[in-house]
């Protein structure tokens, strides 16, 4: 029951914030911080209490018996890092929206509805329930972007929502097919949505052939899979900072989590048949995302495409279908969750609120004028690049080692190229933003010095960068929890 508190607290938070008067925005942000921190606290408790690879904290109850739907929740080593990253990003999202005033009550109502949906997905052990939470997370995104977003927000919000629902449509169809086609060991039809029961039975191999791509692609759209990734950069860019943090940090993970838990977890034979295709698409994601990032002039678009590129590593890790690679995938979900959120926070709030522009060619030697912020960004950029010592390095290493084990050399080579490109665009963009002299700098421009980071910003940066560093230095903190659960999943694979 402990874990369920995350969901309950979030929805209560949504209600409480929504009912407060919008003029009380100073009070609302403390309330929001309290609810977000409570969610993080509960996730941390779950983390501390968890060991072994089995599902913990199980809650099984009948929900709609006439349709074979149960209310089953619980978590294992795969969901645990994602619960943590959700908590971390939720807290930091509030910190980086500290100055938000307009319609603050509604903002946090939608914000916590989204977070509640996200926690719900990570905790659901019933396909129907998972789908319900997955959809609950979509609508708040529309309003968060359309109301509080930046340029082209209406377009971006609508695009994001239509892509999301397109994906869910595929998932829903596949899910109903699984319900009716799954058999238990004796060939008896199971007629259940419960993941626990479905894991014991199996779907006929020929049905997995067509259900797997349907469910996988459906979820992978949310994970930013090429060629369905285009919602991600536009959405990230138009969204207000806290929301782009959530989008990059958590929502894209929803998709990847669905791919792993539902598509691969329930349809192992389908996964084996399609793995090489997934790997090819994953490498395209990595390389294409990096190449496009290299060409961007808008700082936020750079980060947006780098997200697409980094999510490619998650997909590649899943496609390896071996323990090392998949551990890397889950670790990368955590790692990109915190680092991606950090980069969006830095670009969207910390830098933008001071320079009032995100266009790289309008920035002028920021290193002189905001040295502190510039160095923080450089460190974050290095973390994103996969510098040893940060979590990104460990997770990408795991993925690559895993890929050597089961995929062709071309794939690994492609991913390696992607890493080189990541180095390239990170360094080039850092140069452009912080060290380059603008061609037409206004007179006296260089004398302007910007204010230092505010306290909430400092705390947010410390939390996110600290977690990336901590996991980078002690990856066993997470891998010890992830691997046993993945091992159990892989044991159900036919050889």
């Amino acid at each position: 029951m402990t874990a369920l508190l995350t969901i309950i607290l979030s929805f209560i938070g949504a209600l409480v914030c929504g009912l407060m008067p919008s003029s009380a925005h100073r009070r609302i942000r403390w309330v929001a911080l309290a609810f977000a921190a409570a969610g993080l606290g509960v996730s941390a408790v779950c983390y501390v209490n968890y060991s072994g690879g089995e599902f913990a904290d199980l809650l099984e109850a009948e929900w709609i018996p006439s349709l074979g739907i149960d209310f089953t929740t619980g978590y294992d080593g795969i969901s645990l890092p994602l619960l943590l990253v959700t908590g971390l990003v939720a807290v930091c999202g509030v910190l980086f929206s500290w100055t938000l005033e307009s319609r603050a009550n509604q903002f946090y109502a939608f914000y916590f509805a989204l977070i509640g949906g996200v926690y719900g997905v990570f905790l659901s052990l019933d396909l129907f329930l998972l789908f319900v939470f997955y959809e609950i997370a979509v609508v708040p995104k529309y309003f968060l972007i359309a109301i509080w977003g930046g340029v082209r927000r209406q377009f971006a919000a609508m695009k994001l929502v239509l892509y999301s629902f397109g994906g869910s449509a595929l998932v829903l169809l596949g899910m109903i097919a699984v319900f009716f086609l799954a058999n238990d060991a004796s060939g008896e039809s199971l007629k259940t949505f419960s993941l626990l029961k479905l894991q014991k039975g199996q779907v006929p191999a020929e049905a997995q052939q067509w259900i797997f791509p349907m469910i996988f692609v459906g979820f992978a759209i949310m994970a930013g899979m090429w060629p369905f990734h285009t919602w991600a950069p536009t959405g990230h860019v138009a969204a207000p900072t806290a929301v782009s943090m959530l989008l990059a940090g958590v929502v894209m993970k929803l998709g990847a989590y669905g791919c792993l838990r539902v598509a691969v977890g329930l349809l192992p034979e389908g996964a084996q048949d399609w793995a090489s295709w997934v790997a090819v698409v994953a490498v395209i994601n990595i390389v294409y995302g990096a190449l496009v990032a290299l060409k961007q002039d808008d700082f936020k678009y750079v980060i947006g495409y780098s997200s697409v590129s980094h999510m490619g590593f998650v997909l590649l890790g899943i496609a390896t279908l071996n323990l090392t690679g998949m551990t890397g995938a889950v670790l990368q979900m955590f790692s990109h969750g915190v680092i991606g959120a950090l980069l969006f926070a830095l670009v969207g709030t910390v830098i933008y609120s001071r320079t009032k522009t995100r266009m790289l060619n309008e920035l002028h030697r920021l290193i002189d004028r905001m040295p502190g912020i510039a160095w923080v960004f450089i460190v974050a950029g290095l973390a994103s690049m996969g510098l040893p010592g940060f979590s990104g390095f460990v997770s990408e290493l795991y993925v690559l080692i895993g890929a050597w084990g089961s995929l062709s050399g071309w794939i690994v080579g492609g991913a390696g190229l992607g890493i080189l490109l990541t180095f390239g665009y990170t360094l080039v963009k850092i140069h452009e933003a912080f060290f380059r002299e603008r061609k037409t700098s206004a007179p006296g421009d260089a004398e302007i010095s910007y204010t230092a980071m505010t306290m909430p910003e400092k705390i947010g940066v410390a939390i996110l960068l600290g977690s990336a560093l901590l996991i980078g230095l002690c990856p066993w903190l997470l891998t010890d929890k992830i691997s046993p659960s993945l091992k159990l999943m892989l044991e159900r694979f036919p050889n």
């Binding site: 319900v132 609508v139 929502v161 829903l172």
Partner: protein, 500 residues
């Protein structure tokens, strides 16, 4: 025939009829020359009292504290838990329309307005309980005629008269088709009693009978291509009436469709002949409804197109031809109607002082002026769009679930109904676009200050407020906890016979 039993069985309807005459009588005699507001007040109260009394008796009947016969002579009426629940819900929703009708005071013919409302409700109650071809037809006509008359009540508006005329002519023709189809059905089976029709054989005359029935009921349900009346009527009828056309009459027509198709469910050859027709109607309605709605600027017109699309989804459950499929259709039309009535209710409350047709942009900035109504509208529209955890999602899910259940082992795309469900899902994604566009006006866009005659903050009134809150709560609750209602509706459709 046991007349005492019959009296008990029909007590709810009787009470409504008494209220109807009382409303007319009081309005014509004592209140002659009184203020309009006063007359609306009294007529509304009397009608409400009648419906509440009827509802109370219905609850007794459902809980079986009052013994009531299962069916009357020759299957005229089937009074089991399922049909009675549906009837009770129709009465409850009719009760919800009353405060809305009272608010907009559109006509000096006060008691006629309420009498027609009660008549329509009464007719709907009969349609859902009737299992006799003639009885059902007469009841359906009672509904239709009342609705035609109510559409024209706004005498100040030419458009209202035009819409009513369109409704009447289309409706009369479709009734002709329906009656023609029913007569063929009678001719082929020799039965008027639907519960007695068994072992239907595949024959051209039966196929023709059902096709004619589809045309007739397709009109009532606003299925494309028989939908042409719907946008005009929804837009130009008085808003509460449009709400009642879009909810109550849909429930009645869907229930009748299910009852008429019941005998087909174990006639496999006939079933196979009818499925393509139903699937075609479903696909066409979804396309016409969803694509048509994309370009609407008038909110009520948009809701009409959304109704067409929703009628299309409904048929996805019908083609399953199973007990679960039938229940899913009834459940879906119920939750759709709750949401639709709610949405029309919000529009009625917001626009009745506007004095003209409200465009979607008129609702810009409603979140500042009427936050409560905006949230209620959000709930209704998201439910229609099928977003969990609202009831509309569960309804749609149940429809698709039963359609797949009918033939889950598909070897290719055209086996079973995977393709139909996939199509419906794609269309639901399309529909999201226009639903969000409406919600954008309500919740996102700031209000256009300076624009003359836009929506102003208004006093909702306790009755309308209560109605809308209850509808919103129902939409929420049925999404989270549908089991009790599903249980009550269970015997609306007899369980599938196992065919060996």
């Amino acid at each position: 025939m046991d007349y005492q039993q019959l009296l008990l069985a029909l007590l709810p309807d009787l009470l409504v009829v008494v209220a109807l005459f009382a409303a007319l009588g009081v309005d014509y005699s004592r209140l002659r020359g009184s203020r309009l507001a006063k007359r609306y007040q009294v007529a509304c109260q009397i009608s409400a009292a009648g419906l509440i009394a009827g509802l109370a008796v219905l609850v007794w009947q459902i809980t079986r504290t009052m013994p009531v016969m299962e069916s009357t002579a020759e299957g005229q009426l089937l009074l089991n838990t399922g049909t009675l629940t549906l009837k009770a819900l129709l009465y409850a929703m009719g009760l919800g329309v009353l405060p809305l009708a009272k608010r907009d005071q559109i006509t000096p013919q006060v008691s006629e307005y309420f009498a027609l409302l009660l008549l329509a409700t009464l007719g709907m109650g009969f349609v859902v309980t009737s299992r006799n071809l003639l009885g059902a037809f007469v009841a359906l006509e009672l509904v239709s005629l009342s609705l035609y008359a109510m559409t024209v009540l706004n005498q100040a508006s030419r458009a209202s008269a035009e819409a009513a005329l369109k409704y009447l002519t289309f409706g009369a023709v479709s009734s002709g088709f329906l009656l023609f189809g029913l007569s063929y059905l009678y001719g082929a089976t020799g039965q008027l009693d639907l519960t007695q029709m068994q072992d239907l054989q595949h024959s051209p005359i039966l196929v023709l009978a059902y096709l004619l029935i589809f045309v007739g009921l397709g009109f009532k349900l606003a299925l494309a291509p028989f939908h042409l009346w719907a946008p005009d009527v929804y837009q130009n009828a008085p808003t509460p009436v449009a709400g009642w056309i879009g909810s109550g009459s849909k429930i009645a027509a869907a229930a009748l469709l299910i009852a008429l198709l019941q005998p087909v469910s174990d006639a496999s050859k006939l079933k196979e002949a009818l499925i393509p027709a139903l699937a075609a109607l479903a696909v066409l309605s979804m396309v016409v409804g969803n694509l048509g709605a994309l370009r609407q600027t008038n909110l009520k017109r948009l809701l009409a197109y959304s109704a067409i699309a929703n009628a299309g989804y409904l048929l996805v459950g019908v083609v399953a031809f199973s007990a679960a499929g039938n229940i899913s259709v009834i459940f879906y039309i119920l939750v759709y109607s709750l949401a639709s009535l709610g949405a029309f209710g919000v529009v009625a409350v917001l626009t009745d002082k506007l004095g003209r047709d409200a465009e979607i942009s008129d609702f810009n900035g409603c979140w500042t002026k009427t936050p409560g109504l905006s949230v209620a509208f959000l709930v209704f529209v998201l439910s229609m769009a099928g977003i969990p955890p609202l009831a509309g999602f569960l309804g749609k899910f149940y429809l698709f679930y039963t359609a797949i259940e009918a033939a889950p082992e598909a070897t290719n795309w055209l086996d079973g109904f995977y393709w139909l469900v996939a199509f419906a899902l794609i269309m639901s994604v399309v529909s999201l676009y226009y639903y969000l566009r409406v919600l954008k006006a309500f919740l996102v866009t700031p209000s256009d200050e300076g624009k003359a005659a836009s929506i102003v903050p208004i006093k909702i009134g306790w009755a309308a407020g209560l109605t809308l809150s209850l509808l919103a709560i129902a939409v929420f609750a049925l999404g989270l906890w549908p089991e009790p209602l599903l249980e009550l509706l269970k015997d609306f459709s007899p369980p599938d016979q196992v065919i060996n």
